[in-house]
């Protein structure tokens, strides 16, 4: 019995410690993006508060707390310049959690901290979409819930195992409900409002410019650029060029894409077969989509084709997206080259690369026909001692001259740049295309993995009567590069050899893992309105739309609630089949018939005590039965033999009616 008012809400050391643990676990996933001083501040706040609490002191006084809070929030704002966006928002929340911890006095303060922990978990999921992160954060929220259960108890809290189990039970019961909500809650294609993109992943992959050495760095990367699943036939390796930024402007060293080409797209005549595929793009913080050369259909409403056939969308790809695209790998121009484009794609910087210009003039005199000239240049790469290496010597401002005549060692970017320069110097329109080439087939799940190491640069040359024709000068140097990918051409020469061999030793496991990752991406991360409609169709609802999805959600929620109510009702009454309970009820009925009704508030033993007073003749047998009942029902062990004995004894028990009514005195 406890008379103490439940207002004893003072925070204890244990509660504080557990809340600190939960907060630390939630902060751990944000640690990489938080300023170091902020983490230190939060840690110090927690440590100070814990130390004070361990010695039985209250929180620091209000002026000190206010000063610390204002100062740290100001510093954070000066550093970030904004509190908008996920990174800044989580930084602010983390700081507030630490400050709140410092001033924690009552249970209500801990409640606030617990809410912040929940929100930090969610914020982490806005920045990363890995399965393991979700699992980890669900575990953190479960622990937080268990902690909450412990400190929201006004009375003696249950022990850890029990509260963890109870929090787990509530979480488990929440899962079906969450599933229905997740499956059928309406999704929006466009965000409700734009938030600053805060670099949810570092910028990797191609950029809209190319200097010597740029792609070399990509080739060293282990990251995945995108995955492709072909519906139907797969184009041959020599035609799998994934088109990225097309570069037009050259300053002698760097190729740039300086102007957006959002005007009329010159028509193309499709020559070869049509390929259909789904691209699963990793975020790369640019707006282009790596479609197979040359795209002619896609399912992203806001995506469009530039006049140099890049597939782009207005927004940056800061989140993984899936796009269905169809492409022709062989095309022919249907229109002549516009003068603007011709001028742009034959322009060269005047004072740069003089030796190259000289070479071009000489070659052009020998080969007046454009195609002959192109072949002569390719021949040059093939005949001359050009080497293919990931560690090319550094180049200066006249990069093409230095490469063609001095170093003769380079990567795809060097060759593409030199080739385009030679073309332009001869008056032939040419441009550099960057993108990816090839890919690794995942035989475990029928899709291709295109990694950053597949990054490539090639050229397109305008040939009258044919249009833009792709030439890959790198293949003239190391033909194996085009056929087998980077690994094949580098095995002998590079220090990378060991790494790639190790990877190939692992590759089966890696491919399987990647297949799972892709499944996760397709089914979970990529779940959208279309998937909802497909889901509805698959459960037999024709022509699904938003309204039908909402109706299905309503039905689903009702079913889950009925299930939940049933679950809870089931626990409401004791197991009616329990023979001990039934026997006890029978005993009470027999005694009631003998004039000794059990009062509603009487437990078994107090009932027995009253029986012993009112009917001393029944005291011993009823007392024994009731004691046995208590032990069977509330005791730790329940031996079936003891239960049977009890049932048999109750059956045999026959109380006589009282011989005479006892009269009350007075």
């Amino acid at each position: 019995m406890k008379l103490a008012a439940p207002s004893a809400t003072q925070v204890t050391y244990t509660q504080l410690r557990w809340v600190c643990v939960c907060l630390a676990l939630a902060l751990a996933v944000h640690a990489a993006s938080l300023p170091l001083w902020l983490l230190a501040t939060v840690a110090a706040a927690a440590a100070i508060r814990l130390a004070l609490s361990a010695r039985g002191y209250a929180a620091p006084s209000r002026p000190i707390r206010t000063l610390i809070a204002l100062a740290s929030i100001l510093i954070l704002f000066l550093q970030l310049r904004t509190f908008n966006g996920v990174a800044a928002g989580s930084a602010l929340l983390s700081l507030v959690a630490g400050l709140k911890l410092l001033e924690t006095q009552s249970r209500r303060d801990l409640y606030v901290v617990s809410l912040i922990i929940y929100f930090l978990c969610l914020a982490a999921l806005l920045r990363s979409e890995s399965f393991w992160l979700l699992a980890y954060l669900l575990a953190v929220s479960w622990l937080t819930t268990a902690t909450l259960l412990r400190f929201s108890h006004s009375m003696q809290p249950p022990d850890w195992r029990r509260s963890a189990r109870y929090a787990g039970r509530i979480s488990a019961q929440a899962l079906p409900l969450a599933l229905v909500l997740w499956l059928f809650f309406p999704r929006f294609d466009a965000p409700l409002w734009r938030t600053p993109s805060d670099g949810r992943s570092a910028e990797t992959g191609l950029s809209d410019s190319m200097s010597p050495g740029d792609i070399t760095q990509l080739a060293l990367s282990d990251d995945i650029a995108f995955r492709v699943h072909f519906d139907g036939p797969t184009p041959p390796a020599a035609e799998r060029y994934w088109r990225g930024p097309v570069l037009h402007d050259f300053d002698g060293r760097t190729w740039r894409r300086t102007v957006a080409f959002r005007n009329a797209v010159p028509g193309l005549l499709a020559m070869g077969p049509d390929y259909h595929y789904v691209l699963s793009l990793e975020p790369h913080q640019h707006n282009w989509i790596f479609a197979l050369d040359w795209p002619d259909g896609w399912n992203l409403g806001d995506a469009y084709l530039t006049s140099d056939y890049m597939l782009v969308r207005p927004a940056l790809l800061s989140r993984p997206i899936d796009v269905s695209v169809s492409s022709h790998t062989r095309v022919q121009a249907a229109e002549p080259l516009s003068d603007v484009m011709r001028r742009r794609d034959t322009r060269l910087p005047a004072e740069r690369n003089p030796r190259t210009s000289q070479l071009a003039l000489e070659l052009r005199r020998a080969h007046p026909k454009d195609l002959d000239y192109v072949n002569a240049v390719l021949d040059l790469f093939r005949r001359q001692p050009f080497f293919y290496t990931l560690e090319p010597p550094p180049l200066g401002l006249n990069s093409v001259d230095e490469f063609l005549f001095d170093t003769r060692r380079g990567f795809c970017g060097h060759y593409a740049s030199a080739f385009a320069t030679l073309m332009r110097a001869a008056g032939i329109p040419a441009r550099v295309v960057t993108g990816y080439h090839g890919g690794t087939y995942n035989r475990f799940a029928d899709y291709w993995i295109v990694g950053q190491s597949d990054a490539h640069a090639w050229d397109e040359v305008w040939l009258e009567g044919r249009g833009w024709v792709r030439f890959d000068p790198t293949s003239a140097v190391a033909p194996g590069r085009v056929e087998a990918g980077l690994e094949g051409s580098l095995t002998a020469s590079s220090h990378l050899a060991g790494r790639w061999q190790r990877l190939s030793w692992l590759s089966d496991a890696r491919l399987r893992l990647d297949a799972l990752r892709q499944l996760w991406r397709e089914r979970i991360l990529g779940f959208d309105q279309r998937s909802q409609n497909q889901l509805l169709t698959s459960i037999g609802i024709p022509e699904p739309d938003g309204q039908k999805v909402a109706m299905v959600m309503g039905v689903g929620l009702t079913l889950v609630f009925v299930w939940l109510t049933w679950q809870i009702r089931r626990e409401q009454r004791p197991d009616p089949k329990d023979p001990v309970v039934r026997a006890y009820d029978k005993l009470c009925r027999k005694l009631a018939a003998a004039g000794l009704a059990r009062r509603p508030y009487e437990g078994a033993e107090s009932f027995a005590a009253r029986v012993a007073i009112e009917r001393p003749d029944l005291g011993a047998p009823v007392g024994a039965l009731c004691r046995r009942y208590s032990r069977l029902r509330y005791g730790a062990s329940r031996r079936p033999a003891a239960a049977r004995w009890f049932v048999a004894r109750v059956r045999a028990f026959k109380p006589r009616r009282a011989a005479r009514e006892r009269t009350n005195p007075g």
Binding site: Y111, F119, L125, T145, A178, I568
Partner: protein, 296 residues
């Protein structure tokens, strides 16, 4: 009585409202960033809150509560109500708060078990205090929701006057007078001791008991013990109503203390025939408590 489903109300607490705001923020963030994982987490939290609401409701649902609806008390002290909470369900019920007026107490009841909750309501004045209902409430499990129910069971506290007064028991006074007349009283008449009250002649004091360190007591004789004592309103001239009631209450206590003897109570509107024991005492005290107070 058993708590019915329809009688249970449930609303979020202040903490619960903060949580609801957080859930809305989570949903908006998930939708805005179009992140399926964030949405999954947000929906998980929403569902957990809904399940917790069910559990909070369930914590009261089907609980059986019984209370002795009439209790006795003395003015200036506490009226004490005992609530018997019985949990016949297969799960523990935790943190059940019983509230009567402004007084509350909390109790957990394990599965298949029962617990008693005591509420001490302080009552200042003599009279009959009535409550039309009491309240059971709980914020279990997380303090996000408060479920409560009103149990419409009229509770009554008969607040007897606090026992005061210095007048001796009428019969004692008479007995003392009688013993003064016949000094020679045999030992066989000696019936026992009862506690001393002012006004009894000193020669009846049990000096030996006092000398041994016991309390002040007076010797009583057998005829004193068996003859019913009539505690009469009319015998207390010169006192106001409350003082008369207090004196009567004190007399009742005196008759019941030590070696109890039968006594009857005569009030202007009530006559209670002589008797003794807890039930009789309670009857008499209730008569005092409700003197001059109309029945509801």
């Amino acid at each position: 009585m058993k708590i019915e489903r329809r009688r249970i109300y449930i609303l979020p607490t202040r903490f619960g409202l903060m949580l609801v705001a957080l859930l809305v923020a989570m949903l908006v963030a998930g939708l805005n960033y179009n992140s399926n994982l964030a949405l999954a987490f947000a929906f998980f939290m929403v569902s957990m809150v809904l399940v917790a609401m069910h559990h909070c409701h369930r914590n009261l649902l089907g609980l059986t509560v019984d209370v002795k609806v009439e209790v006795d008390a003395f003015a200036g002290a506490d009226a004490i109500f005992y609530f018997m909470l019985r949990n016949e369900s297969a799960v523990d019920r935790r943190d059940i708060e019983v509230r009567l007026g402004t007084v509350e107490a909390m109790q957990s009841v394990a599965t298949g078990s029962y617990e008693e909750v005591m509420l001490a309501v302080s009552v200042a004045n003599r009279g009959v205090s009535r409550w039309s209902q009491f309240e059971l409430r709980t914020t279990y499990p997380f303090g996000w929701f408060r479920a409560w129910t009103y149990v419409h069971s009229p509770l009554t506290a008969f607040v007897a006057p606090s026992p005061h007064g210095s007048r001796p028991l009428p019969a004692a006074a008479a007995a003392v007078g009688e013993s003064a007349r016949s000094e020679s009283r045999g030992d066989e008449d000696f019936a026992g001791l009862r506690s001393y009250s002012p006004g009894i002649p000193l020669k009846h004091m049990a000096w030996k008991t006092l000398a041994r360190g016991g309390e002040a007591a007076v010797r009583v004789y057998s005829d004193l013990g068996t003859r019913p004592e009539w505690l009469e309103w009319s015998s207390l001239d010169g006192l106001d109503t409350e003082a008369r009631l207090s004196q009567l209450c004190r007399w009742i206590a005196e008759c019941e203390s030590g070696h109890p003897r039968p006594y009857g109570l005569r009030l202007p509107e009530t006559d209670i025939p002589p008797g003794r024991g807890a039930a009789h005492r309670s009857r008499c005290q209730r008569a005092l408590a409700s003197h001059g107070i109309p029945a509801p």
